[in-house]
C-alpha cells in the first residue's frame, strides 16, 4: 500500500486524499498505548505521594486532637509516659543540622569551587568520582564511625566535658560528612553551568581567579548553590541512622540544648518508636505521635524549600 501510494503520487497529478497522509492504524495504536503507559507511571507516583500525605495527616491530626495540649510543651520526650515535648526533638534536630552544616557548608562549597574553578581537568576527573563515592557510604557505617572515631578523637578532645559515648556533636559531624558530597556535587554543577563567556569577560577586565569566582561565577550561579545548601539541610534534617546510633537515641530524653550530651532528634525518636523493645504499635497516643513528628518533619522540609526559593528569587542573577 505504501509503495503503491508512492508510485501513484510520482506518476500522476491527481489530488490526494486524507488517507494518504493519515498515520497508519498500527502505529497510532502504539502511540496511544505508550502515552497511556507514561500517564499511568505519572499517576502512580502522584497516588503514592497522596497516600503518604494522607496517612501522615490522618494520624497526626488524631494525635493532635487526642493529646493533652500541655504535654506538647513539657520537660522532655517520654512518649510511653505521655510526655510529648516537641521542642526537645525539634531542638535536637536543629542542633544536629547546625553542626552538620558547620562542617558541610564550608567543605562542600570549598570542594565545589575548587573542582569547578581551580582544579586542572585531570585532577577533576580523578577527584569528582571520589567525592561522589563518599555519598555512597551507608549511613550505618558513618554512625559507627561517629562513635568509634569522631567522638573520641575530635569531640571529646575539643570539648573535654562531652559525653564519652554518645552526643549530638559527634552525630552532627558524621551527618555533615554525609552531606558534603550532596552540596559539593550540586553546587559544582551549578558553578560549571556558568558560561565561559562570563569568566572571560571578568578575566578580560583584569580580574584574578578569586575575584572572578566570588564576584562573577558565584553570584551568577547563586540559585543552584542555594539549592545545593537546601538539599544538604533537608538531607541532614532527615538523616536517621547516624543520629539513632551516635546521638544515643533511647526512645526518650529530657529537653537539652547541650550539643555535647546525648539527645533526641525527630528522626531518631521516630525510629525508636518503630523498632525493637521500644516499638509501640497498638499503644494509642505514642504510636500516633510517630506520625505527628513525621508530619512536622514534612512541614519543616517544605518550609525550607519555600524559604530557599524566596532567597533565590531575591538574589538571582539570570544569565
Amino acid at each position: 500500500m505504501f509503495i503503491e501510494r508512492e508510485t501513484m503520487s510520482a506518476s500522476t497529478t491527481q489530488s490526494w486524499t486524507v488517507a494518504d497522509l493519515r498515520l497508519a492504524g498500527g502505529r497510532r495504536r502504539t502511540d496511544v498505548r505508550m502515552r497511556r503507559l507514561f500517564i499511568a507511571a505519572g499517576l502512580t507516583t502522584l497516588l503514592v505521594t497522596g497516600l503518604i500525605v494522607y496517612t501522615l495527616v490522618k494520624d497526626a491530626f488524631s494525635f493532635f486532637i487526642d493529646v493533652p495540649k500541655h504535654e506538647l510543651w513539657n520537660i522532655g520526650w517520654f512518649p510511653r509516659r505521655g510526655f510529648f515535648d516537641i521542642k526537645t526533638l525539634v531542638v535536637g534536630s536543629l542542633m544536629v543540622t547546625g553542626v552538620a552544616m558547620l562542617i558541610a557548608v564550608p567543605l562542600g562549597l570549598g570542594v565545589a569551587v575548587y573542582l569547578s574553578e581551580f582544579a586542572r581537568p585531570r585532577v577533576r576527573r580523578v577527584l569528582k568520582p571520589i567525592v561522589e563515592v563518599l555519598a555512597g557510604i551507608p549511613s550505618v557505617v558513618l554512625g559507627y564511625f561517629a562513635i568509634a572515631f569522631i567522638n573520641p578523637n575530635l569531640i571529646t578532645v575539643l570539648a573535654p566535658g562531652a559525653n564519652k559515648a554518645f552526643n549530638i556533636a559527634a552525630a552532627g559531624v558524621a551527618v555533615g560528612i554525609l552531606t558534603i558530597p550532596i552540596i559539593a556535587s550540586v553546587a559544582e554543577d551549578a558553578l560549571r553551568a556558568v558560561p565561559l563567556a562570563l569568566r572571560e569577560a571578568s578575566y578580560g577586565l583584569g580580574a584574578r581567579r578569586v575575584a572572578t569566582t566570588f564576584r562573577v561565577v558565584l553570584p551568577a550561579s547563586i540559585s543552584g548553590v542555594v539549592a545545593a545548601l537546601i538539599l544538604g539541610i533537608s538531607r541532614a534534617v532527615g538523616e536517621t541512622m547516624v543520629v539513632a546510633i551516635a546521638a544515643g537515641a533511647v526512645g526518650g530524653g529530657l529537653f537539652s540544648t547541650d550539643p555535647f550530651q546525648p539527645g533526641q532528634t525527630m528522626t531518631a525518636a521516630m525510629a525508636a518508636l518503630g523498632f525493637g523493645s521500644d516499638q509501640v504499635a497498638g499503644d494509642g497516643l505514642a504510636f500516633q505521635s510517630l506520625f505527628f513528628i513525621g508530619f512536622l518533619l514534612f512541614v519543616l522540609t517544605f518550609l525550607l524549600n519555600l524559604l530557599g526559593d524566596r532567597l533565590v528569587r531575591r538574589v538571582r542573577e539570570e544569565y
Binding site: A201, E318, Y319
Partner: protein, 291 residues
C-alpha cells in the same frame, strides 16, 4: 615535493614583504609600537594553529585582522592580552612585545596585562548584574570604592560608548534586558571604564544586525582618539571601512599531517591592501574570489 617548494617560496615572499613593511613603518614613525610580534606561533597541544606572525601595531590606530575561518586571527588577537593562557594546552613561541616588553616573559603577570589591554568578545557578554554594576566591575577591582567616584566613571564610560542616553534612567536594571547591540556597546563601555591602553575586539559585530553594527563602527571611530584598537572581523567591508592597517591571514595545509595552520599573508595600510595588494592571495580574498 613540488608543493613543499612552493610553500617555502611563498613563505620567503611573505617574509620579504614584512621586512619591507617593517622598515617603512620604522622609518616613518620613530615612536615605540604598542605591539610588535616576532615570529609568533601558537600551539594547541602538538597542533600549530598559527605560525611566524610578524605584525606591528601603532598607537591610536585601528588595525584589522581579516581572513577565512581557522586562519588563526582570533588566536593571535588573544595573545595580546594573554587570553590564551586560559586554555590549558595553549603554548606560544616567538615574542609579543608590548611597549617593548615581551608579554610572555616569565615575570610578566597576565592579569596586569589584561588591566591595560581590554577585550570585547564576539557574543556580547554582559554580567547578569545591573547596568551600573557591569560598568563598576572593573573600577572596583582596581580599588575604586567611593560611590561618587564610581558614578562619575559609570556616566563618562557610558557616554563615551554612546549608550548613556538610552540607559541613564535604568542604571539599576539588569544588563540582560538590553538589546544585542546595546549589550555590545555596554561591553565596550565596561572595557573603557578601566581606562585601558588597547581594546581588542574579536568579531564584535558578528552577532549584530546592520544598524547595530553601524553604531559600533561609528563608536570605534570616536574612541580611537584615546585607544589603540585591534579588531578581528570576518567582514571585509568592515575592515575597509574602519581600519587604518589590515593584516590578512590565511590557512596553509601542512603536507605531512594534513592539518591547517594559519599564516600571515600580508600586512599593510588598509587602503593599499584593498586597492593594490602585493600578494595574489590577498587580492583573491579582498575581491571575493576566495574565502
Amino acid at each position: 615535493m613540488n608543493e613543499t617548494r612552493k610553500l617555502v617560496e611563498q613563505e620567503n615572499v611573505v617574509e620579504e614583504n614584512h621586512e619591507e613593511v617593517m622598515t617603512r613603518q620604522v622609518a616613518s614613525h620613530d615612536d615605540v609600537p604598542v605591539f610588535r610580534t616576532k615570529d609568533l606561533s601558537v600551539f594547541y597541544g602538538d597542533f600549530r594553529a598559527v605560525r611566524d606572525v610578524n605584525v606591528y601595531i601603532k598607537a591610536r590606530e585601528i588595525t584589522a585582522f581579516i581572513g577565512p575561518s581557522g586562519c588563526g586571527k582570533s588566536t593571535v588577537l588573544r595573545c595580546f592580552d594573554r587570553m590564551n593562557d586560559l586554555i590549558p594546552t595553549a603554548r606560544v613561541e616567538g615574542t609579543v612585545e608590548y611597549h617593548g616588553v615581551n608579554l610572555y616573559d616569565r615575570e610578566v603577570d597576565a592579569v596586569e596585562v589584561r588591566r591595560r589591554v581590554g577585550m570585547v568578545f564576539q557574543k556580547p557578554n554582559p554580567f547578569p548584574k545591573s547596568i551600573y554594576d557591569n560598568l563598576a566591575f572593573g573600577p572596583r577591582l582596581n580599588g575604586v570604592k567611593k560611590k561618587a567616584d564610581l558614578d562619575v566613571i559609570v556616566e563618562s564610560s557610558l557616554k563615551r560608548a554612546a549608550l548613556w542616553d538610552e540607559v541613564k534612567d535604568r542604571l539599576k536594571a539588569s544588563a540582560m534586558g538590553l538589546s544585542g547591540g546595546q549589550q555590545q556597546r555596554l561591553c565596550i563601555a565596561r572595557c573603557i571604564a578601566v581606562e585601558p591602553d588597547v581594546i581588542l575586539m574579536d568579531e564584535p559585530c558578528s552577532a549584530l544586525d546592520p544598524i547595530a553594527t553601524a553604531r559600533i563602527e561609528d563608536l570605534m571611530q570616536e574612541i580611537k582618539r584615546d585607544f589603540t584598537i585591534i579588531i578581528v572581523t570576518h567582514n571585509m567591508q568592515q575592515a575597509a571601512r574602519v581600519s587604518d592597517q589590515t593584516a590578512f591571514f590565511t590557512t596553509e595545509v601542512n603536507p605531512e599531517s594534513d592539518r591547517r595552520t594559519g599564516v600571515l599573508v600580508e600586512f599593510d595600510k588598509t587602503q593599499k591592501m584593498f586597492s593594490n595588494p602585493s600578494d595574489s592571495r590577498t587580492e583573491a580574498y579582498v575581491t571575493g574570489r576566495f574565502g
